[in-house]
Amino acid sequence: MSRLNPFAKLPGLNTASVLLVESEEHFQQSLAEALVEETSVTVNVRLAKSFPLPIENDESRPRIDLVVFIINLTSELSFQSAEASLKYLEPGYFLGKVCFMVTNARSSSVPAERLDAVRRLAASLHCPLLFAEEQTPQGVTNAAERLLTILKAAAGFVPFTTPLYLSNLTRCTLPPDIDQPSFD
């Protein structure tokens, strides 16, 4: 079982590489386009559906600074696929190089337990949890901006900040009443 190792390759000069993992492959594209707009840093975006990643790309793949799991709350498969992909990552990634992004959180067809489950997962791994709105271009730009902040820290562009330090500030925490029934 080949895991993705954060320190297996040398980092690129003035580049940051991010891997977007989404089982539906909806949001990836527009988010990738928005991310590439960044001018001060060369952003390398790679897209994947799920882990394990194909071996034939291992050579050409640069060192991945940040792995983003995009979970669509309206489908259970999305969440399960993300969960299953986690074991293909080296533990070194979970010190601030993994991020969860959730879409469609406002949709009414979403059961409350799924969001709770995602929250629990993110909190147990000490990773940040971002909420994104994929339908409007403004939403995509906003999501890309926030992702870029985390990406810059993960790639070492922020002085005196390591991704571990940033993850301590941005990590997902569980609200104390998560086990109690919600409004509806």
Binding site: L13, A32, V36, A48, K49, L53, T162
Partner: protein
């Protein structure tokens, strides 16, 4: 199509850095510094990782997550403390460096140094003036406090005096009038008694004079007595 396929999507479409005449990307000094910073950050991370791995290899003790969490937050607060300390020290260092640079500049005889010196003089003059004014304010403030204290003292005294006066006034009537009243009543009863006696005596004398038909006009002593009889009314 592989179900877990990965797109090789090198979507670096934008050409951000300005190109020189040779077509190479020009990296300015700031960019170089930034790249250097990035590399040092990455190296630091890798170093930490190596250390962690080697340490874990040496002592494989199983630590619980709660213990790790506690250590973690302790480390974070220690980190914050050290960061603030370093920041303050850097500030102090910059201050010293700046002053040193200014000193060096003033020692030379440039027109800039002259301007700097003039500004310096002005600053000193202003500082002296500020000190003076501060002293004066302090004196005035002391005077004001003194006056306020005196006024408060006066107020207190007047208050006390008023209270005393009120006290006395309410107190005085009572004991004096008590004794006074008793004596007054006694005196009055005595007076009534003697008045009645004198009226009776006068009535008797008047009766005597009338009954015995005594000629009191001629005798001056008798006339004097008879005149005084009219002073008291004839009461029944």
């Amino acid at each position: 199509m592989d179900s877990s396929g990965e797109d090789i999507n090198d979507m670096v479409k934008k050409d951000d850095a300005p190109k020189g005449p040779s077509g190479q990307k020009e990296t300015s000094t700031a960019d170089m510094l930034r790249i250097k910073q990035q590399m040092s950050n990455q190296c630091f991370e890798m170093e930490v990782h190596l250390n962690a791995v080697s340490v874990a290899g040496k002592n494989r003790r199983s630590c619980s997550t709660s213990e790790a969490e506690r250590d973690y937050s302790d480390h974070i607060s220690e980190l914050e403390r050290v960061k603030t300390l370093r920041f303050n020290q850097t500030l102090a260092l910059h201050r010293m460096q700046m002053w040193h640079a200014m000193e060096e500049k003033i020692k030379t005889n440039d027109p800039e140094a002259d301007a700097l010196r003039a500004v310096n003089q002005r600053c000193m003059a202003l500082c002296c003036r500020i000190k003076q004014i501060q002293q004066e304010t302090r004196l005035l403030q002391d005077e004001i406090t003194e006056l306020q204290k005196k006024r408060l003292e006066m107020k207190r005294l007047t208050h006390e005096k008023m209270k005393e006066m009120e006290d006395l006034m309410s107190r005085k009537e009572h004991p004096d009038t008590e004794k006074y009243k008793a004596a007054l009543e006694k005196g009055q009863t005595n007076l009534e008694k003697y008045k009645k006696m004198s009226i009776m005596a006068q009535n008797v004398l008047r009766g005597l004079l009338l009954a015995c038909k005594i000629n009191w006009l001629d005798d001056p002593k008798l006339r004097h007595v008879a005149m005084t009889l009219e002073e008291f009314p004839i009461t029944d």
